[in-house]
């Protein structure tokens, strides 16, 4: 049955691209699954492709792209799902569009980034060689629920999958504990950092209580949010031993990208990719759209950094501060893909902006909410004294913000997910992962 579905799906995808229907990256898979519930299992049964799943609140797209770049540098053929198409229909679409007429996948590897809630469902359909778990932060509580319950679901779904090899972030207590509960420890490898950390937590921390006994955890180093070198003084659970904690070169700025790079390299090393191949791949790496990608628009430089939850936002603020940012747009939408609850902006340490920002424009569906957050980040009562503009229209916001940017400067845009898609349209960029 699959070959005819595939033919139909490919045709559908071309038509949808031709007429710019949007959702071209999920509809073919959606239809394929409707026609054959076992579409994914059937197509994989026919193929020799090894599968790597990547899940976590932040860094899925960047880590997938890093690993793909490394594997391709090593001469392997790799397929992957589009960023955001990380539910079952997105995976089915990627398989469909990359299969030949006989319904076979010829790629060596399929790297799939998987939505937090979808991981247990995907594990029922797919038998991956590796599962990489990056982190768990509070994100879209209206959609995902609470951090601890996501961790519990992941553990349940991995409990009897003894053949899967796990690559886990040791610095995230909830994620590390997943590995510590699974009996087959030799199939679990951890990455993490060993460097000087901060002494105090940011406000946006989720998991600083022991995942086993509930006692407050102690940290000998805090890296960001609740990530760090942790241990429990009561039940003696502690950060597991690291298989990788050092990298020579990171293609992207920011501590959070160091973790993404560590995850990709550790997986590559487990796949026995030579070190010099890994290094040369990283040097060629080009970021995905919106993940620190620099674009030129009307002769000026714009760098876009997707920000969708407090932990990521704090990291982004640290990163643009270190890059010398002065001109900033924050674009806050509240679509389903952004999370309809924007309360989370009060968990970000926007007070940091006082140290370096010169012009800030807030925009998007919830521009006024972000404006309020910034008003309450200053000790100033009068908003006119701040160089803060509130402009709900994204087009106008970009145009006016750019006027204040000199040729030698960069405009930094921090959008939520759907705002990033809107910006892509405005800037005319077609490049998206």
């Amino acid at each position: 049955m699959n070959p005819s579905i595939i033919l139909f799906g490919k045709l559908f995808s071309q038509i949808s691209q031709l007429f710019n229907f949007g959702n071209g990256s999920t509809w073919p898979g959606h239809i394929a699954l409707k026609l054959n519930r076992n579409f994914i299992q059937d197509i994989l049964k026919n193929s020799q492709t090894k599968i790597i799943l990547i899940a976590g609140t932040n860094g899925k797209t960047t880590t997938s792209l890093l690993l793909k770049t490394i594997l391709e540098e090593n001469g392997q053929k790799v397929i992957h799902n589009s960023s955001g198409a990380n539910l079952l229909n997105g995976l089915a679409s990627a398989l469909l569009l990359n299969s030949n007429a006989a319904g076979k996948i010829t790629a060596d590897y399929a790297i799939f980034e998987v939505d937090e809630n979808t991981l247990p469902i995907v594990l029922k359909e797919i038998d991956p060689q590796y599962v990489v778990l990056l982190n768990l932060f509070r994100d879209q509580l209206d959609r995902y629920g609470e951090v601890a319950s996501v961790a519990a679901k992941w553990t349940q779904s991995l409990l009897h999958e003894e053949t899967i090899r796990l690559i886990l972030n040791a610095d995230d207590p909830q994620v590390a504990f997943i590995g510590q509960q699974l009996f087959n420890h030799k199939n679990v490898k951890y990455f993490g950092l060993n460097e000087k950390g901060r002494k105090e937590f940011e406000h946006a921390v989720d998991s600083i209580y022991c995942p086993r006994c509930g006692n407050k955890l102690s940290y000998s180093a805090i890296y960001y949010s609740h990530l760090g070198d942790w241990h429990c003084e009561k039940c003696e659970l502690k950060r597991p031993q690291l298989a990788l904690d050092e990298i020579n070169f990171t293609p992207l700025s920011g501590l959070y990208n160091k973790y993404n790079t560590l995850a990709a390299i550790l997986t590559a090393k487990e796949l026995e990719i030579p070190e010099n191949t890994i290094e040369s791949a990283l040097k060629k790496f080009k970021p995905a759209f919106g993940r620190q990608e620099v674009v030129e628009y009307n002769g000026k430089k714009i760098q876009i950094l997707l920000t969708k939850n407090p932990a990521g936002f704090n990291q982004t603020l640290q990163t643009i501060k270190s890059l010398g940012a002065k001109n900033i747009i924050i674009a806050l939408n509240d679509g389903i893909a952004d999370g309809t609850d924007v309360s989370w902006i009060w968990d970000i340490d926007t007070e940091m902006l006082n140290d370096f920002a010169r012009n800030i424009t807030v925009t998007g569906d919830r521009a006024y909410d972000m404006g309020l957050r910034l008003k309450y980040s200053t000790s100033s009562l009068k908003i006119e004294n701040c160089k803060l503009k509130i402009e709900p229209n994204l087009n106008i916001a970009i145009d006016t913000a750019l006027q204040a940017v000199s040729q030698s400067e960069t405009l930094y845009i921090l959008p939520t997910y759907t705002a990033m898609l809107d910006i892509r349209k405005i800037l005319g960029g077609k490049k998206i992962l």
Binding site: W344, W346, G371, Y376, S380
Partner: protein, 284 residues
């Protein structure tokens, strides 16, 4: 965002208790603390925040003038519940009974009630300070999630704290239609349905959204000067009248006299509220 504004100085000061900030602050509830802090600071009222957490000295809580507690995840609420039983429960009850103002959001609001019946039917006892109880109808029923708006007692949002009122009895009824400034906006996300008993009044009447239980159009509760609400958002920066009500009540109780608050420029707050009310198609 440089500041040229001269911070005034008054002789007033408030100690604000933030109950379990590391455990009960899931949905941006810190915004409520920021709003209280800034709105005092901008008026020259000295503020000291007193974080109360596991094993904090009980005297800390007893000496506070205003109380705040946010929502939390189930696992964290259990830790808090255990800690309360070590003595903070009695102190909190005394504070609330002697009219110390406070704001309790979502999980914290449920916690002040008689009990919480979990999705699996098991009962978790509350502090029993408010005459309310909460039941989660089971995992198959949907959580109540979305933007919300409700009409609040005019007295709480009139910008003045000095209306006389018998304890526990609001002098005015909630109007059916929204007035100019008694509408409150927020975002709710709760599985439990809360029902009010006879000894407590609702905080407001639901205009859009679910409120306490999605059935009787009530939202939140008010008892003496304690407010319970399902509204995240967070509620205070988006509805600064409520923040000012809490601040002036706290000053009134502490200094035993009426203290009128310096008005602030809330034009941005009004714009933000207006944008949301328009989106929710609420005319006033």
């Amino acid at each position: 965002m440089s500041t040229k504004y001269q911070i005034p100085n008054t002789k007033y000061s408030l100690r604000i208790a933030w109950l379990y900030p590391d455990l009960m602050s899931t949905y941006g509830d810190r915004g409520n603390i920021i709003a209280l802090q800034k709105r005092c600071e901008w008026r020259g009222i000295n503020v000291e925040f007193v974080p109360i957490t596991v094993d904090s000295n009980h005297k800390l809580l007893a000496n506070c003038d205003l109380l705040f507690m946010g929502g939390g995840e189930d696992r964290q609420q259990k830790i808090v519940s255990d800690d309360f039983q070590k003595g903070n429960d009695k102190i909190l009850r005394e504070l609330i009974e002697k009219e110390t103002p406070g704001l309790f959001i979502c999980g914290a609001y449920q916690f002040l009630g008689k009990y919480y019946k979990e999705a699996d039917g098991s009962i978790v006892n509350g502090l029993g300070i408010l005459d309310i109880y909460t039941e989660n109808p089971g995992i198959k029923t949907k959580r109540l999630i979305g933007n919300m708006a409700f009409a609040c007692h005019p007295e709480l949002v009139s910008g003045s704290s000095c209306h006389s009122r018998e304890s526990g009895n609001l002098s005015e009824k909630i109007p059916d239609r929204v007035g100019d400034d008694n509408n409150i906006i927020g975002f709710e996300n709760h599985g439990g349905r809360t029902y009010l008993g006879k000894n407590v009044q609702s905080l407001g009447k639901v205009l859009t959204g679910f409120g306490n239980n999605g059935e009787d159009q009530t939202e939140g509760a008010i008892y003496k000067n304690t407010i319970g609400s399902y509204s995240h958002g967070p509620i205070l920066p988006k509805n600064p009248q409520l923040a000012d009500w809490l601040i002036s009540k706290a000053l009134e109780i502490k200094y035993k006299k009426e203290i009128s608050l310096e008005p602030l420029d809330d034009s941005l707050e009004s714009q933000a509220k207006e944008a949301m009310l328009q989106r929710l198609k609420i005319n006033h």
